[in-house]
């Protein structure tokens, strides 16, 4: 009975985080894009940049709203469904979440009001400042959330005193080994995901021969950012993998379906695709590339890579989810790089011109259908990260089964079902309303902001 309750709690956390994750990706990326656009507007005076800020911020506020709506249940879910975990680790995880709430979320939420609604109420400088605060708040939020999650992956600054988790060094715990790469990787993922979201929307318009100049401009900015971000993310992925191998060898083995440690002075093969069989502690079938695992994992041909069988069965994560998710994520990472390179090539071949761009339908369709790429890659990455950490909540210290609340399975199953229904509905509504926003198109005619300073009566 206890076992079943844990599974429901896990499923609920998975559903709520997978849904929530979609929105901060866009909040972080779009908020940065809007700073870029507003700076360009203020520096060049080109009205088109102002229209870009206004247009993309409509999508921004929509995603921000759903992000907040889905984020609050996460914050409180540690208490409702993981009360034992909360009691045991609150003094570090709760701390870091409090930093997130007070340092970043509060900042973002307050200045959002000025940024979205205050165009005619504050000065130029104040408005840009508000924009920057929103972007800063969004990115800083990611930092603190990743700090909390990273501590669960590589719990530093900790000692077990009488079965209780005691934090001996708060700075070490916060700036634990996993944090730098984890934060950077998700932050760049936000930028890359937004890039393809925006790029895909540009493609949508160009395919319909609407506002071609407007969206080509945005698209080119995406390509420039993409030249940096797409290869960078692959590099960061590699660095991420190295961290996992060093600090979470069981997860590393599971995500590669690598069962047997290769003896010294031999190489480990990389399993490209396989059917893992956890009971048999082997793969039913596999396609392998010799030497590659040693090379990828240790950057040397004869590097030793620990196999999953080195760990007791009770300490092993499930293999299939992290294994497949990892492959999908990596594949998508390379697909996104390819699309950026293709766009660069089109640009070089002068095919991104207002007159001729809509003709290249295959190219734009690829970008249009690539909209989900970053989202899917990120969710897969999280599946690797979190499922690969099982059976631990805090790696090596607290098991998932030990952290769950004494809430009945029936109660938890009810809330889980409600979350699923409501979130599916919300996702559908988001797509519906985004379509409406796109159909309506950018507003190119309403008056420019009047930028008034706050006077004593306020108001309009």
């Amino acid at each position: 009975m206890e076992y079943a309750a844990v599974d429901v709690a896990r499923a609920q956390f998975a559903v709520t985080t997978i849904f929530h994750m979609l929105w901060p990706l866009l909040s972080i990326g779009l908020s940065l894009l809007m700073v870029v656009m507003e700076v360009l507007w203020l520096r060049t005076g080109d009205e088109m940049y102002y229209r870009q800020v206004r247009f993309w911020s409509i999508l921004f506020i929509l995603t921000f709203g759903i992000g907040v709506a889905s984020g609050v249940p996460l914050e409180f879910q540690f208490g409702t469904n993981w009360s034992r975990f909360s009691a045991a680790t609150g003094n570090i995880v709760g701390n870091l979440l409090a930093f997130e709430a007070s340092m970043s979320f509060a900042l973002e939420a307050a200045f959002l009001a000025v940024f979205i609604f205050g165009w005619n109420r504050v000065s130029r400088r104040m408005h840009l400042f508000s924009n920057i605060m929103v972007a800063f708040g969004a990115s800083l939020s990611a930092f603190w959330i990743m700090a909390a999650n990273s501590w669960m992956q590589t719990p530093a600054g900790v000692s077990l005193e009488g079965g209780k988790i005691a934090i001996t060094n708060y700075l070490q715990a916060t700036f634990n080994p996993d944090l730098p790469i984890a934060f950077t990787h998700i932050w760049v993922a936000s930028i890359e995901t937004t890039l393809f979201f925006v790029g895909g929307i540009c493609a949508w318009y160009i395919l319909r021969n609407r506002n071609v100049g407007f969206f080509l401009k945005a698209f080119k900015i995406m390509v420039i950012i993409g030249i940096v971000v797409a290869p960078l993310q692959i590099f960061l992925g590699d660095a991420s993998g190295l961290t996992v191998i060093k600090h979470q060898p069981a997860k590393a083995a599971a995500m590669e379906a690598h069962w047997v440690t290769n003896p010294p002075d031999t190489s480990a093969s990389w399993v490209l695709v396989a059917q893992p069989d956890q009971k048999a502690q082997d793969n039913s079938w596999e396609v392998k590339i010799p030497y590659m695992l040693s090379i990828v994992s240790t950057h040397s041909v004869k590097g030793q890579v620990i196999g999953l069988k080195d760990f007791p069965v009770n300490d092993q994560p499930p293999v299939a989810p992290p294994f497949y998710a990892f492959r999908i994520m990596v594949l998508l990472g390379f697909v996104m790089l390819f699309l950026v390179l293709w766009a660069l090539w089109q640009w070089y071949r002068k095919k991104l011109r207002v007159e001729s761009a809509p003709k290249h339908r295959i190219f734009w369709n690829f970008w249009l259908y690539a909209i989900p790429a970053g989202f899917l890659a990120t969710e897969c990455g999280w599946i690797v990260r979190e499922v690969g950490r099982q059976p631990w909540l805090v790696y090596g210290i607290l098991r998932t089964t030990e952290g769950v609340s004494p809430v009945s399975t029936a109660t938890a199953a009810t809330s889980l079902s409600l979350f699923i229904v409501i979130y599916v509905l919300l996702l559908g509504l988001f797509i519906y309303f985004t379509r409406r926003i796109l159909e309506k198109g950018p507003d190119l005619t309403s008056p420019l902001p009047t930028y008034r300073k706050l006077d004593s009566t306020g108001g309009n």
């Binding site: 540690f78 034992r84 009691a87 709760g94 509060a106 609340s405």
Partner: protein
């Protein structure tokens, strides 16, 4: 130093939660009041909430995280034992947030307006029952909840929840009086009087029930400091209520009703918190028992504690940017 930090954090938590229920309580209250309004009045009401509800909701986020970090045992016990009301609050807030967003983009403004109102109602009900549930003598053993999923539902918590609903409606109406004019404002004044009276009546009923049914509470209240403190605050509440009655009928005072509503609200909150001190969860978990270790509280003070005044300052600035009366569909131009 031993007892100081938990008390300091308790105080900070109370401040945060009070800011939440005062600021966002008004927003939620307006949402509930809007259920009974026609479409154009509803639009005005939603504009009166304005773009500030995100900032106001952040106090809940800050408060919840503060509870988690400074009093993790209480955080876990309260939320897991009051699971159903907690879910009501969470789902209510989800509905509230998305409804106000989607309404701006949709042709079906009435539908989303009602969804917004229902979301607010659900969120208030959740808070009311969490609050009421805390006074339901929850079965806690060895730092864990050992009761059932419906323990929070009883006559006392129902009355408390109704009182909370009335109190939020009162805050909402007071906020509307401040932000509107003319005939709309007169209607809001009437709403203010009505909801304030219900709130006070519930409060009195609850106190009577508590004193009669709750021996531990009457024991605490008959000893210092509560024996001075609680009646004092009850007098403050009564005085503020009378002032609220007077100012809401005075056509010239726009701000005064809001101020008095806040005083009534804070007076009730102070009487309650002071009334159960030093317990966190009456009467099974004390503040000291629930607190994180000292080192954690110090660490949190640097990261979160010193930030709180800064948040208050920039929130005051943002409120200032949006001060003043609202007329109809002012905010619609954003979409």
């Amino acid at each position: 130093m031993g007892a100081f930090l938990p008390l300091l954090w308790y105080f900070l938590l109370v401040v945060t939660m009070t800011l939440f229920i005062t600021l966002d309580g008004a927003d939620l209250g307006i949402g509930v009041l809007s259920l009974n309004a026609g479409e154009s009045r509803r639009s005005t009401m939603l504009v009166a909430i304005g773009p500030l509800w995100y900032a106001n909701e952040t106090w809940l986020v800050v408060g919840g995280a503060t509870l988690f970090g400074a009093f993790p045992l209480a955080y876990g016990v309260i939320l897991s034992s009051l699971y159903i009301p907690a879910m009501m609050l969470l789902f209510g807030l989800v509905f509230r947030a998305v409804s106000i967003e989607f309404r701006g983009h949709s042709e079906h403004k009435r539908l989303w307006g009602i969804a917004f109102g229902i979301g607010c109602l659900l969120a208030i009900a959740g808070q009311g029952f969490i609050f009421g549930g805390l006074f339901s003598n929850l079965k806690i053993e060895g730092g864990s909840f050992v009761g059932g999923p419906w323990d929070w539902l009883n006559l006392g918590s129902v009355i408390i929840a109704m009182g909370v609903l009335a109190a939020y409606a009162m805050m909402g109406a007071a906020h509307l009086v401040r932000k509107t004019e003319g005939a709309v404002q007169i209607q809001n004044r009437r709403l203010l009087l009505g909801s304030a009276s219900i709130a006070l009546a519930s409060f009195v009923a609850v106190i009577a029930m508590m004193l009669l049914a709750y021996t531990p509470l009457s024991l605490i209240w008959s000893r210092p400091p509560q024996v001075y403190f609680v009646p004092l605050f009850l007098l403050v509440v009564l005085f503020a209520f009378i002032m609220l009655l007077i100012s809401s009928r005075d056509e010239k005072s726009d701000r005064a009703p809001y101020i008095w509503a806040i005083v009534v609200f804070l007076g009730i909150a102070a009487a309650t918190i002071g009334g159960i001190f030093p317990y966190f969860i009456p009467f099974s978990l004390s503040i000291a028992q629930a607190a994180s270790p000292q080192a954690s509280l110090v660490f949190m003070l640097f990261g979160a504690g010193i930030i709180l005044p800064i948040i208050i300052v920039y929130n005051m600035y943002v409120h200032g940017v949006f001060a003043g009366k609202v007329y109809g569909d002012e905010a619609e131009d954003q979409y």
